[in-house]
C-alpha cells in the first residue's frame, strides 16, 4: 500500500517538475537564476532555484497560519504552535532534535508574523539528507508534549514581560491596539500573558491539524541542490503529507475598513529620557494596486533613510533625533501606516508638529522631479542587493507566492515602480495619509513632555 502510493507520486513528479520555469533576473542576464515551480498532487507548492556558489541549501516552508486564523481568546496560538514544532516529535525528543541539528552546524527555526508562519532550515549540502528528514519530521509528526508546552509558555510569558522594558515595544503595543481594535493585527503575534495561559494542548493539536496542510503551504528551496535530488527528498520525506479534513478549515476574517472617527493621544509614563513616539493610522493591503505608488510616496516622506524628508528635517536640520522613519505594512489585509521616532522628552511636541507639517506638505504639494527620480532609482536599483543570498531568495520567493504577486514579479517590479507619476504620489498621499484623524502614542516621562507646540487652540477643548 505504502509503496504503491510512493510510486504514483514519483510518477507525477517526473512530469510535473519541469512544467513551469521562469527566469529570475537580477539586473543582468548573466546572473539570472532560474526558478522552477510545481504543485504536487497533495497541493503543496514547491519553488526551487539552483545556486552552486557555495555548498549550502536554504529551505523555507511558509504555512498560512498566523494571528489572522486565531480566535481572540487564544491569541498567540499560531506562534506557540510554530514554536512547539521543534519541541518533540513522535520519534524525537526536543533535546534530540536540537542535538542532531546543531551537531552538523545547521539551524532549524520557526517564525510567525502578521500573515504567516515560516519554518527555515539552513544546512550544508553534505548534511541535506539529515536536515531535510528532521525538517519533515517536525513538520508532519510534532507530538506537542504537555511538559514542553508548559516550559515554552513560561518563556513566552517571561519574554513578553521583559519586552515591557523596551519603550518602543510598549508604544507599538498600544498603537496597534488602538488602530486595529479587535482585528488580529491589533494583538501581539506572541499573544498576551492571559491568552497564553488559556491555550491548552488540545487547542494546539487542533490548530495544527487545521492549518498545517500541504495545500496551505509553500516550500521554497534555494542552493546547491539539483531538481532530481530535491524531488527525491520530497518524495521520500513529504510524500505522506496529506490533507486531513478540509471541512475544518477556519475562515480568514475580513477587515473592516472603517476610518478612525477621531484622533487619539495616548501618553504612557515611564522614567526614561526620551519620548518614544508612534504616529499613524490604518494603511493599505499588499494587494492594493496603489501599493507601488505608496512605496514611492513613503520613500520620499520617511522610508528613504537619509534621502527622506522626515530624516532630513528632524535629524539633519533640527538635530532632534537619531532615527525617524515612516512605513506602510502591506499585509494580507490593510496594515498600519506609522511614523516612529525617539526624541528627548522635552522635544516631543516640536517633533510631532513637524511630522504633521510634512504629512500636510506631501498631501498638498507635488514632489520634485529629483525626489521622484531618486525614489524610483533606489527602489528598482536595490533589487539585486535585496536578493543577494540564498537565504534571502528562499524567503522572498515564498512571500511572492503567498501574496500572489505573480511569477513574473521580479521582471515586472521595475515597471510597477517606474510607472508611478508625481500625480500618483500626490493622489495616494491625499488618499492614504490622514492629518485629521490619527493615533499618537507617546511613551516617555510625562512630567517633561510638552505637547503645546502641536496642539493648536482649535483642537484642544
Amino acid at each position: 500500500m505504502e509503496s504503491k502510493k510512493w510510486k504514483m507520486l514519483f510518477f507525477v513528479f517526473c512530469f510535473s517538475l519541469f512544467i513551469f520555469h521562469f527566469p529570475f533576473l537580477t539586473l543582468s542576464q548573466a546572473h539570472a537564476v532560474e526558478i522552477k515551480k510545481q504543485t504536487l498532487p497533495n497541493g503543496l507548492t514547491v519553488l526551487h532555484a539552483e545556486r552552486h556558489n557555495l555548498p549550502i541549501v536554504m529551505l523555507t516552508l511558509l504555512i498560512k497560519a498566523s494571528p489572522l486564523n486565531e480566535p481572540a481568546d487564544k491569541a498567540g496560538i499560531a506562534y506557540l504552535t510554530a514554536k512547539m514544532l521543534t519541541e518533540g516529535t513522535q520519534k524525537r525528543k526536543a533535546s534530540e532534535i536540537r542535538e542532531e541539528i546543531e551537531f552538523v552546524g545547521a539551524s532549524l527555526d520557526t517564525s510567525t508574523g502578521s500573515d504567516y508562519t515560516t519554518i527555515s532550515l539552513s544546512v550544508l549540502k553534505k548534511d541535506i539528507e539529515k536536515g531535510f528528514e528532521i525538517f519533515s519530521d517536525v513538520l508532519q509528526n510534532p507530538s506537542f508534549p504537555e511538559e514542553e508546552i508548559n516550559r515554552m509558555k513560561e518563556i513566552i510569558k517571561g519574554s513578553l514581560r521583559q519586552s515591557e522594558e523596551d519603550p518602543s515595544f510598549v508604544a507599538s503595543k498600544a498603537f496597534i491596539k488602538e488602530v486595529f481594535d479587535e482585528h488580529p493585527y491589533g494583538r501581539l503575534v506572541n499573544g498576551s500573558i492571559e491568552s497564553i495561559d488559556s491555550i491548552k494542548q488540545d487547542d494546539i493539536i487542533r490548530f495544527y491539524h487545521e492549518h498545517y496542510l500541504p495545500e496551505n503551504a509553500i516550500l521554497s528551496v534555494v542552493g546547491d541542490l539539483t531538481s532530481e535530488d530535491l524531488s527525491s527528498l520530497i518524495e521520500r520525506h513529504l510524500g505522506q503529507w496529506k490533507a486531513k479534513d478540509r471541512s475544518q478549515k477556519t475562515e480568514v476574517r475580513k477587515q473592516t475598513e472603517e476610518k478612525l472617527r477621531e484622533k487619539k493621544i495616548i501618553v504612557i509614563d515611564k522614567d526614561i529620557t526620551q519620548a518614544n513616539i508612534i504616529f499613524g493610522h490604518l494603511g493599505i493591503a499588499r494587494e492594493n494596486p496603489d501599493y507601488y505608488a505608496v512605496s514611492v510616496m513613503n520613500y520620499i516622506l520617511g522610508g528613504g533613510g537619509f534621502a527622506s524628508r522626515l530624516m532630513k528635517v528632524v535629524r539633519d536640520e533640527m538635530g532632534l533625533t537619531y532615527s525617524i522613519y515612516s512605513s506602510f505594512s502591506g499585509n494580507k489585509e490593510p496594515g498600519q501606516f506609522e511614523v516612529e521616532v525617539q526624541t528627548k522628552n522635552e522635544s516631543a511636541g516640536v517633533v510631532i508638529k513637524e511630522i504633521l507639517k510634512q504629512i500636510n506638505k506631501i498631501r498638498t504639494e507635488t514632489a520634485t522631479d529629483r525626489e521622484l527620480k531618486d525614489a524610483k532609482a533606489y527602489l528598482t536599483g536595490s533589487f539585486p542587493r535585496r536578493l543577494e543570498t540564498s537565504r534571502r531568495i528562499a524567503d522572498f520567493l515564498a512571500a511572492v507566492q503567498f501574496y500572489n504577486l505573480g511569477d513574473d514579479y521580479i521582471e515586472k517590479y521595475p515597471d510597477y515602480i517606474n510607472r508611478v507619476t508625481k500625480e500618483d504620489v500626490l493622489r495616494v498621499a491625499e488618499k492614504y495619509l490622514n492629518p485629521e484623524n490619527y493615533v499618537i502614542v507617546i511613551v516617555g516621562n510625562q512630567k517633561k513632555i510638552d505637547l503645546s507646540h502641536f496642539q493648536s487652540p482649535k483642537n484642544v477643548h
Partner: protein, 444 residues
Amino acid sequence: MRLFKFVLIFALLFIPFTIHASVKEYTLKNGLKVLIIEDHKAPVATFQIWYRVGSKDEPAGKTGISHLLEHMMFKGTHKYGSKVFSNIIQRNGGTDNAHTTKDYTMYHQTLSSDRIGLSVELEADRMRNLLLDPKEVTNEKNVVMEERRMRYEDDPQSSLYEEVISTAFKAHPYQWPVIGWMSDIASIERKELYRYYRSYYSPDNAFIVISGDVKAEDVLPKIKKNFGNIKPSKRSVIKNRTEEPQQRGEKRVYLKKEAELPYILIAYHVPSFPHEDSFALDVLSTILSAGKSSRLYKGIVYEKQLALNAFADYSGFHRDPFLFIFGATAAPEKNVEDVEKAIYDEIEKVKREMPTEREIQKAKNQIEAGFVFAQDSTYSRAFYVGMFEMLGNWRLMGKYLEEIRKVKPEDVQAVAKKYLTDDNRTVGILIPTKSRKEEVGSGK
C-alpha cells in the same frame, strides 16, 4: 556588544575551501593597503574602508570623539554637501553605513558592482576633504546625544553592560563606551574633531576591502587615481599604550533602574586573538552558548528554568585583551542570585569534568557551517578579511582555522581553569525598580 555576538558566531573559521587564493593584495605608495576578493555569483559588490582608530585611542574627557567623527563623515566635504554621499549611493540602488568600535572605524557600501567607482571616488574625497561645518557639528552632537539616550540611558540591559565594562577596566581605555559619556559628547569642539580627523584619517592608517562581482584590474586603477595623491598625515598618531593590570579580587556593581526583570553580567579578563589561548576560549564559548543544545541553555533555561535566556560571549577580536562575558535574564519570580550560582555551577562543571570529544566536534562543526553560510554575503566576506587585517594581517585567518581545528577537550578545560576564576571576574546586577501609569486623551 551586539556586533560582536554576530562576529562570534561566524568568525571562528574552519574553511572547507581555500579563501586565500581569492584575496588579492596591493599597497599604494602612500601606504594604503587594498584587499580584493572576487566573487561573481551575483552582480553586487561591497566596498569597505577601515581606519585604525576607535574609542581606545581617545583622549580622556573627549570620549565619543571617534564616533562623532564617524557621524560627521556623512555631513559633507568641500565638494559634496551634507548627506550627498548617502543620497548618491541610494540613488544607485545601494546602501551605506558605518560603525565605530573600541579599535576601529569602518565605512561600507553595498551596491551594484558596476557602480563600485562611486564608492572609490566618494571615500577618497572624504578621507581628505571633510568640511566639518561648525553648525553641522553642533547639530550632530545633538543627534549623537539622542542616540546615546536611545541605546543606553533608556535601555536597562545596555546600561548594565556599560557599568560592567567600565568597572572591569580601571586603567585601559576599553572602559569607555564607544558612544562616549554624555558630558564628553557635549564638550567636543570643531577644532578637536578636525585635529583628530587629520591625525587618524590618513592612507597609511587605513585599508580597503572590496568583495563581489569586480575585477581587480578594473578597480585598482580607479583606486590609484582617487587615493594615490593623498599624502600620509604628518601628525604622529597616538596609539594607546596602557595595559590593564591584573585583577586581584572580584568586583561587583549594582544598577537600579526602571525594568521588569533582573539581569546579570559576569565578565572575566581574557587574552584576545591571536594569543595561543584564544582558540580554546572560542570553542569554550561555543560549547557553553551556541544553540539550544548548548550547556547554558540546557542547564539554566531548560532544566532549571531559572532564566529566560543565558549566553557566554568571547569577544576575542580585539587589539588588546578584552573580556569573556556571561549574561542571563532572570525568569519571572526567580532570584538573580540563583541564576548567578547556576552560571558558576556550569563553569565549575567544565573545570571538573572533561568536555566530550563529540561536544568539541559539534562546536567545530557549528563554527565551520556558520562561516560557510556567511560567505554568501559580499559584506560578510569582506568583513572577515578586514577583521583579521585589523588584528594584524588578513593571512592570520588561515592560522586561525588551523588552530581551531587543533583544539582538544583538555585545552578547553585548561582555559576555563586559567581564566574563569573568582578573582578575575566583575559581576553586574540590574535591580529593577518600577512605576508606570497610562493616560488616554482625546484631541477633541
